[in-house]
Amino acid sequence: MLLTTLMIGLVLGGTYALVALGLSMQYGIARIMNLAHGEFMIAAAFCAYVLFNGAGLPPLVTLLIALPLGYGLSWLVYSVMMHPLVKRAPNRGQLEADSILATFGLLFILQGIMLLVFGSDFTSYSYLNHPINLWGTNIAANRLVAFIVSLTLGLGLYVLITRTRWGATLRAVALSPASAPLVGIQVDKVARQAFAIGGSLAAGGGVLVSMFVTFSAAGGVVFTMKALIVVIMGGTGNLMGAIIAGLALGIIETFVTSYIDPGLSLASVYILFIIVLLWRPQGLFGTARS
């Protein structure tokens, strides 16, 4: 029972980590707190659902479409909505305030469209829904697949960001945006890329989550909030921190659901969040900056 709970938690946490990585890219590098992040996820989840039920397309194939599509649409959102805000913002604080308001609006637009098309019912579909025996515990194949793909994508991105020159330019923009142009980095281009990658991860996460979770058109905001908690717990801009915090969040949530009460799972997440904020405001893995 304990091992099963742990494994289910870890698996759930893998997708949290992926979605949080997306938010971290958008917030840490492009400096945009995207409150519509969860809506991108849900939209991708519905895509997976429609393509699976309508065309028999397996979600893993949809994933291959969702990743580039999420990138492209986020690129568009950045160009149309965010770029004017970035250009006119005199400082980072103003951009944060403006982008929160703008993406708050985007949240309702996307949610409204999805409510119109899909209604407000909870949706799910059955894909790879057979148990796999792993070290004596049974776990659904779809969860396991989602976990492996999430972690592969997340760790792959982590390696790209920390080990390549391209990744170094992204980190340079995150850490010292004023110095980045000195070495010929186009801050605006990098920010756009980071925002688009974030959207791509949200879409990927949405497809993966849809394989084993019931979702509804109005459910995006919970994912956004969880991603936000993971990003802050992991330390803003700390990608490995976000991955670990995502896994931890999944485990904690699953333990509370299994051993205390399912109704308390979200509350437990927020209590944890508050404790982290009070005890280590820089995040569990962030370093305090002077």
Binding site: R171, A172, S176, S179
Partner: protein
């Protein structure tokens, strides 16, 4: 190789630089001398595209106009700056700073060899490859900034107050390194308040007072010039400082 004409920069109503004209020949080191707020840093910032000069300003590198181009294109054309305060990536390692220095496409060829050259020039950096730059001394950070600039395979190196905040012995080492860079044929434009050290390094120099170029000459002549003495006894800073 560098030809600046009628370069004017204003911040609102304040005219920081008024119709400056100067040039640098290939391989030359040119010092720009002036008190705080005289317009020296503004001049360098306009060359890198960080500050937009006024209409009619011109700065040509190998005959091609730099004014109006975005910062990344200017780097790609071979102009690299070490700004005042160094502008290093403090949260990244020495190695990563050098990696980013070679970010411009023009710098990719021969990157490895240039890295070795930088490590030869500053053996200290080779010893501390993986150290976070933020945790290094001011002199070492200045080495990182200059090393990073050299990684871009520049034709023109702009140095803004490289000695600022450094101990005299470190300044000596820094200028030794700059002399070595110069001897390899790189064209350098240096803005410095340490007049003696910069005239020691430079071939020629210009005097800026309150946004205007008021004099120029060979480094030897400037060393014995009365106007140079005057400018650094505080005559210009009283009206030029902002």
């Amino acid at each position: 190789m560098l030809e600046i004409n009628n370069l004017s920069i204003s911040y609102g109503a304040h005219l920081a630089l008024d119709g400056a004209a100067l040039f640098a020949a290939q391989g030359e080191t040119v010092a720009i001398l002036g008190a705080n707020g005289a317009g020296k840093s503004s001049l360098l910032k306009s060359l890198t595209g960080m500050v937009a000069p006024q209409e009619g300003s011109s700065a040509k590198l190998f005959g091609e106009e730099l004014v109006g181009r975005p910062a990344h294109e200017i780097v790609e054309r071979g102009v690299i700056a070490v700004p005042e305060g160094r502008g290093v990536f403090g949260e990244m390692s020495v190695e990563e700073n050098l990696l980013l220095g070679a970010n411009p496409l023009r710098a990719r060829k021969g990157e490895q060899a240039r890295r070795d050259e930088v490590f030869d020039l500053f053996p200290r950096l080779a010893e501390r490859k993986s150290q976070l730059v933020r945790t290094m001394s001011g002199g070492e950070q200045q080495m990182v900034a200059i090393g990073r600039a050299l990684m871009s395979r520049p034709d023109l190196l702009l140095l803004d107050e490289p000695s600022l905040g450094l101990a005299p012995i470190v300044i000596g080492q820094l200028f030794d390194a700059l002399a070595q860079i110069k001897s390899q044929g790189l064209t350098i434009l240096i803005v410095e308040q340490n007049v003696r050290a910069s005239l020691q390094l430079a071939d020629r120099g210009y005097l800026i007072e309150a946004g205007r170029i008021t004099g120029s000459g060979t480094a030897e002549d400037l060393k014995s010039d009365d106007a140079v003495q005057h400018a650094f006894l505080g005559g210009a800073s009283a009206q030029g400082a902002s």
